[in-house]
Subunit: 722 residues, 2 copies
């Protein structure tokens, strides 16, 4: 690929990006789109709407970039939780390491590559991009030590940065554990595979087991019921409530379904609270008994313990001599529980996991077909050979440039959005021992392709991310077609599952190309910088934090980065072998071993913190709570929050993620928008009110998006009914 | 290789075996060799020696075979522990599965292979052994379904047998945990990496930590001291004792070094017990203080807890937010502690582990050199090509047969005793995708070699095992050269680390050759049967059980057997591919998946029992002991048994492995030897006396072999000194 083709591709993408970002800065000011671009702000605390003048609304402005840049990490942590902070730290790590890499490689490696062979150079834009790769060096070149040294610098910098990041994030994680003092999940253990007994219910078996073996720490438990049963039960309850109302109309019949009425446990009353009349209690008992016939307990339960440490111990110890029974885990947060999954018998879980793995592998192999085709596109000769009718068109220069520089990765994206393109190297391998050399041959020839991939999958996808085209279209269609204002808008969660792999992929591309084809590095650096601003903006404005893992993504990032470093070193080793430099090869092998040692060290030093809770920390928390007399209060809450029946009391706890600090700290600066105007109207575009009265002014263009529970259809239904 | 060459090899080995086994049955009757062939019996309980008449002593007899055959599993368990039982169960499993395999493959697969091509067969002994392999089938043969079916039968039988064995052994392991009620290790946790503090000792740091966080369960602890210090301390103590004796000669000065005097802990007295005089106590304190300057605590300790469950919990929970500090593990048994290893800082351990791994890999690659040479020997043409002067000799038939049938594996054994010869296949691989086909090509051509390997490494090594040539020679030399009767004889422990890999290797050979070259199976079956008798005899007579893992070897055997099955299936898949049988290939793939599923199931169902102790079992044990009032007694013992200074009280506990049931049940039947004689002298060759008076008659030809402590030179020295 020529440099001009590369620049064409870069030009196309830069223009697209600028157009889309400008469009975004206009679209976000349209009141109709607030629920697309400020979904999070609408959910968290009421926001007063202010319609700017028409001419303001159609002028692009960079205020959002400034705002995103200025938000500090503490503000982000308070607003969006640890996962968001860890994600942005991944981006910052990438910026840092690729800044170092770019400086080292462009200052030292690139000139060595360019002047690698004694030949007359063309003008820069007519040069092939391969002139800048290591391929341009002649065999046995004495300048390969520069590459080897660069490799050492990059690896050392990466390891140092990784170490400090890991340490900081481990500290943050501990802070996350200790900071979230009143989490009910810390007192709760999820038990699966309760053994079946013919003469007693699962609930009885469970309470017998725990009162026998954990009498000093066991408090109570909450069974999991068959999901369908719960639905039917709710209907039954309402119907019964209606009939009771008919009999005794003086009873105020709100379906105030407090958990203990339904769920056995230690407070084993099967009667309704609404049966306050003593005379009706017998009837109520009968009804309750009839209802319990409907119960279909599953062999799973949430068990509550007196202290966090007790729960930790039970969750980590092997319970009985059959490891497939009494399987214990620390419970998820109440609003993270996916009740339907708890219905699956534990015996099936491992089979399901294997099936998922097999499916994923099969999926990857299916994608080899488009990948092979696309790889062919970058080699024009092959293309014109395969499709003779294209020969005429391909001779035209611009089309040629577009096809080699842009089209392949666009097609790839269409086919292949989710699967890392590392697979495209798979069909190259045919020999075990020659993998380094084969990789070394494959990477530079694909360097141009990877660069354009960075443009399309990287830059353009970031622009897509901020534009939210799907949500935008959906919003427009919904408004145009269905006039029903009451339809709930789906507030999105940050798609960590696609964005972290994308970051990792670009990291992999950056490392592997660093010393071999350093031309990609500036483009990557632009990508990471843009990613930092855009993701930060999106996290602050669009996405809500529903599930908080406490930074558990970091070890994945760490390990994959180490893998990328190792792959880089192996490819470089192959290259040094191909270029017959024994010195450089010899110096690379210790580097590989040192990197492996570093990886092992981190695995011992930090990884356990991300899988287990330290006992010392939990014991200290328990003590602090006991001293402060908070324990009682915490215990009281436990039973009600893990209720399979959606309760009103749950709302407040699951709404905890929209924290108040955000409302205070995250005020956008409308002054930046129009600082010259002294008008009071322009003082703020969005005003936040921490107090409850703010709810009145709630934006009604995306109505009833006030709490995350509204998001599943069942919940909405139940909510409406109540 | 011709069948006659194979039979030559078999003949040579069978004769060697018969000669050696006859020799053994004579040698074992010589009183001078008792300590070689009855080491275990000499150690465990005194044995009266009886010298048979001279003519009895020189007649070979099969009585030992009968005895070994008749010993039941319960007797073996009582005598030699669970590890020995599990090892013999591995042998029994191998006999069972290879009996089934041999029947299936010789009845169905062998005829199909033999008549695979329509040609005139020679006489059997002139046939090449390759006629019996799957290679003899013509391409696209319709008879390959027989092989596929055989594969299914073998895999199903193996999985069923493995499942039942795993279940039985898991039960036995639980029985082992519950049965050994008074094990101090169950109450003890080994702590490593105690953090260093400038203003207090490790011991203080530890007791502060545990009294703070585990006040309800923590009892006391026992620091680990620098090994050299302990030695010097013992010397100092004796010297001081001497000087004190000089000052106050009335004090009875026996160096009665009870543990609490030296080892801080909770009973932190640095004075001697012998300082009973009040006036001397001040002086004693000074001396003690001076001594404590000698102390050099290591950041490791044994911590004792009130119940087994408490110890389990502390050992399994992550202690603090730094996983490299306060590292906890369940303690080993007191006599299993290798104090020198506890001196190694925890931070070094993982580096050492990696170094070991790297060393092992390097070691394997070094062994590729002799293996390549030996592999060449089986192809005679290559040999005569490489060494032209051998051509004349090689033409002679017998030499030809010996060289191809016997020599290669003998040379291999010499070079290569410890490393599995699977590596020899390594340099064949050059393509990832063709591994099954390449394996399929490689295995049958090496079938002859593997068969002779079975003779030499299998049969002959068993004969060596029972003969104990090294011990025999050592015994003779020791008796002839040094007349010092007091020299201690080293009682051996069963070499699980070489014998289990050997069993596994023969299992691998058996499985991989089963459907491809079934001719090896009868020879393997003979090997396993012989192994059963010989190992049983050796476990009963020769080896002592010093370290008892409680059957933890089994999961290794299980997993490796699954690996062998999978490799067999992959090789068969390659063969079905080579022979162009899509049906057989198609049916093999589900078999592979099913085997993997089975493996996963067992990993979930049984494996955790072999890594963790079930809480329920330990709690029940604690309760039973509390009810019986044994707890106090157990607690008292704890501190003294984990003492770095060898104590007399330790002897009794570490001698526990020579259990009394053995003395009662394991009487050899001398009647079998000479049933026709009514002479009282011939009634028993060995008489056991469970009571202490038996010690008087202790066999003095291998003196002072009465307790395992005598085995390390330091201990002997210390023992003598005291």
């Amino acid at each position: 690929m020529e440099i001009s083709a590369l620049l064409t591709s870069a030009g196309i993408n830069i223009s697209i990006c600028i157009v889309l970002l400008s469009l975004y800065s206009i679209l976000r000011k349209q009141p109709a789109n607030y629920c697309v671009y400020f979904g999070r702000r609408l959910v968290c605390g009421g926001a007063r709407r202010y319609d700017p003048f028409w001419y303001e609304r159609f002028v692009p402005s960079p205020s959002w970039l400034v705002k995103a840049w200025e938000t500090s990490e503490d503000e982000l942590l308070a607003a969006a939780g640890l996962d968001a902070v860890v994600f942005l730290r991944m981006v910052i790590f990438s910026i840092r390491i690729f800044f170092i890499t770019a400086v080292v490689c462009i200052a030292f490696v690139l000139p060595v590559n360019y002047y690698g062979q004694p030949k007359v150079h063309k003008e820069i834009h007519l040069e092939s991009s391969e002139v800048f790769t290591i391929e341009n060096l002649k065999e046995g070149s004495k300048w390969l030590w520069v590459h080897c040294l660069a490799l050492y610098i990059i690896t050392s910098a990466a390891c140092l940065l990784l170490y400090f990041e890991y340490r900081t994030i481990a500290k943050m994680r501990l802070g996350h554990i200790t900071g979230s003092a009143s989490k009910p999940s810390q007192f709760t253990v999820l038990i699966r595979a309760i053994p079946w007994s013919p003469d007693q219910s699962y609930s009885d078996t469970l309470s017998k087991y725990f009162t026998n073996y954990y009498s000093s720490s066991y408090m109570s438990h909450q069974m999991v019921y068959h999901n369908g049963i719960i639905q039917r039960l709710l209907l039954d309850a309402e119907r019964m409530c209606q009939s009771l109302k008919h009999v005794a109309p003086e009873i105020n019949c709100k379906p105030s379904l407090t958990p203990c009425t339904f769920c056995g446990g230690l407070t084993a009353t099967n009667s309704f609270h609404i049966l306050s009349n003593e005379g009706d209690s017998v009837k109520g008992m009968e009804l309750g008994h009839k209802m319990s016939a409907h119960f279909q307990e599953r062999p799973a339960a949430f068990v509550f313990f007196k202290t966090r440490y007790d729960a930790l111990v039970v969750s980590e110890v092997l319970q009985t001599s059959n490891p497939m029974l009494w399987v214990t885990d620390l419970a998820p947060e109440p609003h993270d529980v996916y009740w339907r999954n708890l219905n699956i018998p534990y015996r099936q879980l491992w089979i399901r996991r294997i099936a998922t793995l097999v499916g994923a592998v099969a999926f990857m192999f299916v994608f080899l077909i488009p990948v092979t085709f696309i790889q062919g596109l970058t080699q024009l000769q092959q293309l014109s050979h395969a499709f003779p009718f294209l020969r005429g068109i391909l001779k035209e220069k611009f089309i040629n440039q577009v096809i080699t520089g842009y089209l392949p990765s666009v097609i790839l994206i269409l086919f292949f959005y989710a699967v890392p393109p590392l697979m495209m190297q798979l069909n190259v391998f045919s020999s075990v021992r020659d993998i380094p050399a084969q990789l070394a041959r494959a990477v530079p020839t694909q360097a141009g392709f990877f660069t354009t991939y960075c443009f399309t999958s990287g830059w353009a996808s970031l622009a897509c991310e901020i534009m939210q085209p799907m949500a935008l279209i959906w919003n427009l269609v919904a408004k145009a077609v269905s006039k029903n204002k009451d339809e709930s808008y789906e507030t999105l969660r940050f798609p960590y599952h696609t964005e972290i792999p994308r970051l990792l992929l670009f990291g992999l591309l950056g490392f592997t190309n660093s010393v071999i084809a350093p031309l990609i590095l500036p483009f990557l650096l632009i990508y990471f910088f843009l990613a930092y601003l855009i993701y930060k903006n999106q996290i602050l404005n669009v996405y809500i934090t529903k599930y908080e893992s406490g930074g558990q993504y970091w070890p994945i990032f760490h390990n994959t980065t180490i893998f990328s470093l190792l792959l880089t070193q192996i490819i470089a080793l192959g290259f040094f072998g191909l270029k017959l430099s024994t010195v450089a090869s010899g110096f690379t092998i210790p580097l590989i071993l040192l990197t492996l040692l570093f990886s092992e060290y981190c695995r011992h030093r930090f990884a356990p913190i991300f899988h287990k809770h330290p006992a010392q920390v939990l014991i200290d928390m328990d003590r602090a709570d006991k001293m402060a007399g908070k324990m009682e209060e915490l215990h009281k809450k436990l039973h009600s929050v893990y209720s399979q029946i959606p309760l009103h009391s749950q709302k407040s706890s699951s709404k905890g993620e929209c924290s108040t600090p955000f409302a205070n700290q995250e005020l956008p600066d409308p002054e930046k928008l129009k600082p010259e105007e002294g008008d009071a109207i322009a003082k703020e575009l969005w005003g936040y009110q921490g107090n409850e009265s703010g709810q009145e002014h709630e934006d009604k263009s995306c109505p009833s998006a006030s709490s995350p529970e509204h998001r599943t259809p069942t919940m909405i239904e139940l909510h409406k009914r109540s």
